[in-house]
């Protein structure tokens, strides 16, 4: 029984949170990798795009709540997703029209795009904070838990409990659905094939009659969709804080590079790799070993590799190791 208890403990504190966080990271990373493969630059504004999407959802949730519309045990924010996605996509398309398009026609170096995206990042950051104010927002409603710790204990008779928050369950399910749809879209539809062709070889794609404007537009819309869903899920899970999306940028980039930049499947795998490493390295294993080992062997310290403040350091370490050992990432992305 102790072994089971120990495993449940690990599942509760590592597996479930890492799965949901990994799903959110994977969505963000997919957005970055799509922009990268089609527009050929690392979009620093992705984190703030997520914040913008989440902001629209927060505002609309407030409106819906004041009218009295809700979604039962699910958070109301889900109802606002379509509008939030539309607003974010519009913002991305406008940004592209006003900022990036000029550099595309000039055939500027990638670094100019990156720099422009940093400018966009700060404008969005200011915009979000001007509209929503600098404070934290909690917009999650409905049932808080799908399964609570006491329920699980009663149900299985184990001492340790396993909780599953609604936001965590939603993150995993929604992210998987969205990813499945995205892969189907990229592989099977004509537009998806056009996108991949354009990403693979721009000139050949142009020769075969693919409309570059359309490909770029669709890429922005897809990226905005992914960013909004990721942003809303993250906000539901951990509460909306304006600066936390900026701090999400590093793990998202790490996920992209670890998986192989420009490879959608790599972004997904990278997201989960980063999330699980962060959780495994910053988890205190003391109780886990206390359950597994006989009493006289029980550890005295917390058995924690790194304190939780260094979560971002973990993703950075993995990033550095990947750059040193295999700069192309797990799935051989583009490097040079």
């Amino acid at each position: 029984m102790d072994v089971l208890n120990a495993l449940v403990l690990l599942a509760n504190f590592v597996l479930v949170p890492a799965l949901s966080y990994g799903a959110q990271l994977a969505l963000g990373a997919l957005g970055v990798t799509l922009i990268y493969s089609v527009l050929r630059f690392a979009n620093f504004a992705q984190g703030e795009t997520m914040a913008f999407g989440a902001m629209v959802a927060v505002l609309l949730t407030g409106v819906l709540q004041s009218v009295g519309i809700s979604l039962g045990f699910l958070p109301t924010a889900l109802l606002t997703l379509p509008l939030a996605i539309a607003a974010t996509a519009l913002l991305c398309l406008l940004t592209d029209k006003w900022v990036y398009q000029y550099y595309r026609t000039q055939r500027s170096r990638p670094i100019t795009f990156v720099m422009a995206s940093v400018g966009v990042m700060f404008i969005m950051n200011g915009l979000v904070r001007v509209i929503l104010g600098p404070g934290d927002q909690y917009f999650s409603d409905g049932e808080r838990f799908i399964m609570t710790v006491p329920d699980f204990r009663v149900w299985t008779g184990l001492e340790e409990g396993l909780a599953l928050k609604t936001s965590q369950g939603l993150s995993i399910v929604l992210a998987l659905l969205l990813m499945a749809w995205l892969f189907w879209f990229l592989q099977k539809t004509k537009t998806g094939k056009a996108m991949r062709a354009y990403a693979d070889n721009e000139n050949l794609a142009l020769l075969s009659g693919i409309d570059p404007q359309r490909v770029v537009r669709i890429t922005w819309i897809l990226s905005a969709t992914l960013a909004t869903v990721a942003g809303v899920l993250y906000g539901l899970d951990k509460g909306y804080k304006p600066l936390s999306y900026f701090h999400l940028l590093l793990p998202v980039f790490a996920a992209v590079i670890v998986g192989g930049i420009g490879r959608p499947i790599g972004a997904v795998v990278g997201g989960f790799v980063i999330a699980f490493s962060e959780a495994l390295i910053t988890y205190a294993y003391k109780k886990f070993f206390m359950l597994l080992l006989p009493a006289e062997w029980a550890p005295e310290s917390l058995m924690q590799f790194l304190s939780t403040e260094y979560k971002s350091a973990v993703s950075f370490m993995i990033l550095v190791i990947v750059l040193l050992v295999r700069p192309t990432g797990i799935f051989k992305g583009k490097v040079i």
Partner: protein
């Protein structure tokens, strides 16, 4: 002196406008405020020079300026704060031993890397070395940290520094930042250009996380206050007879008509005012020396054969490589040099504040703003970077009252407790972030060479 020719008129004009703006602040607000702005302008200009070395000379995009600034700040603490003897007694040995063990681990790792280079199981061995190092260091390090942090936690709780003059830390700050830059450059240079941006973003986040959480070294969010100054304190000046006498002579006209209590009160006020100005002037003098030194070195470097080579690499890497230039090595050199300059500025910033606040470092103020300075001033032009530093810092400081005033005027038709009015007034300070972002994008788009463009020589 070819760098003076074409741009001279523009430069003279731009700097005159800048001087007028500062003069206006001096006469309208107060000279003390104007001097405070000037001092930070100089620090900003030095940071902008550092970034200009990286971006303007070589086209390297560093998004981690904040981290290098903070390392400079750490140097100020480590150099200038008095050592905490008690902390050294209880934990100094443990910390030194952990440092020695860390060094040993690195040496071992290096040896393993050299010995088994190219083998497929090399990374397994490296993992073993890292784990071994971790297991060995942890039991030495953790108790030492605990002991140090429990020494009078409300006042110290950290190791303190070396108790040397704080001016020395400016050099140390540069060296610390250079070391961090070397590590990052080794990993990220030579890959895609975006990778350097991502890696620098990462390192700056890590440095800030370290500074906030390693209380034994930096006191973390409890901040280190009361760092010694390189200039006299206002109170000392106010109490010294020669200073009072000097102010008396200086203000003789204003004091002439007064007598008795009124005269001594007026003198007192004048002395307080003058002491604050005198202290700030001392800083201005010190900082100007550093700025002029770095600026002249930059100008000399850019006009030397080295500068020509660097620009050649920036403009066409392939051609430069064909001429036998080692591009990766030059990039690393420039990245380290630029970061060192930023580190120096970071130490100066902490010097003038007199305190080190790890919680106060945010990427808006310490990374993004510097970028705007370089781009607006004119990337590739040293004087341009200095001008950008002055101009943008001035705008950043003055934008807050102006923005507030603007919002106040715009919403003056609404009731004082109108929700929208209150919200807009509260968020006025975030408007300037947007304005800076817009400024960056507009300059990049419509005037990519900035106010003082880079000079293209005919020779």
């Amino acid at each position: 002196m070819s760098w003076l020719h074409n741009n001279t008129v523009r430069a003279v004009l731009a700097f005159s406008v800048m001087a007028l703006l500062l003069f206006w602040v001096g006469s309208v607000q107060s000279w003390s405020v104007a001097l405070a702005i000037i001092n930070l302008c100089i620090v900003s200009a030095i940071m902008a020079l550092g970034v200009n070395i990286q971006w303007g000379y070589a086209g390297l995009f560093n998004v981690g300026i904040m981290g290098f600034t903070a390392l400079g700040g750490l140097a100020a603490v480590l150099v200038a704060h008095a050592p905490v003897a008690e902390a050294w007694r209880v934990g100094g040995l443990g910390i030194l031993a952990s440092l020695a063990l860390l060094l040993a681990t690195i040496v071992l790792g290096w040896w393993v890397y050299q010995r088994w280079q190219g083998k497929s199981y090399l990374w397994l061995l490296m993992t073993v070395v890292v784990l071994l190092g971790y297991v060995l260091i942890r039991p030495v390090f953790a108790p030492a940290v605990e002991a140090i942090e429990s020494v009078n936690p409300s006042r110290t709780g950290f190791l303190g520094g070396m108790g040397l003059p704080i001016v020395f830390s400016w050099l140390v700050g540069g060296v610390l930042a250079a070391c961090a830059a070397w590590l990052i450059g080794k990993v990220a240079l030579g890959l895609r250009t975006d990778y350097l941006a991502i890696a620098t973003l990462g390192i700056s986040e890590i440095i800030i996380a370290l500074l906030r959480n390693e209380d034994w070294l930096t006191r973390g969010v409890k901040n280190v206050t009361g760092l010694p100054r390189p200039v006299p304190y206002e109170v000392t000046l106010q109490e010294s007879a020669w200073f009072i006498g000097w102010v008396e002579r200086w203000q003789a006209e204003a004091l002439a008509g007064l007598s008795g209590v009124a005269r001594s009160e007026a003198l007192q006020a004048a002395v307080v005012d003058a002491s604050s100005i005198a202290v700030k002037l001392c800083y201005t003098g010190l900082f100007s020396v550093v700025l002029i030194l770095i600026l002249s070195l930059c100008v000399l470097a850019l006009n030397s054969p080295w500068g020509r080579m660097v620009r050649a690499i920036r403009d066409n890497e392939t051609a430069a490589a064909a001429m036998g230039k080692d591009i990766k090595q030059r990039h690393l050199q420039i990245f380290v040099l630029g970061s060192a300059v930023v580190g120096i500025a970071g130490a100066m910033l902490v010097t003038i504040d007199g305190q080190f606040t790890p919680g106060g470092y945010n990427p808006l103020r310490f990374t993004f703003l510097i970028w705007v300075m370089v781009i607006v001033g004119g990337s590739g032009n040293n004087l341009g970077a200095v001008l950008g530093g002055f101009l943008i810092w001035f705008m950043w400081v003055e934008a807050e009252p102006v923005g507030f005033w603007l919002m106040d005027q715009l919403t003056s038709g609404m009731a004082a407790d109108n929700a929208l009015r209150v919200h807009l007034l509260d968020s006025a300070q975030y408007m300037r972030v947007m304005v800076m972002g817009l400024l960056l994008l507009l300059v990049m788009r419509f005037s990519p060479r900035g106010i003082l463009p880079e000079q293209h020589r005919k020779t």
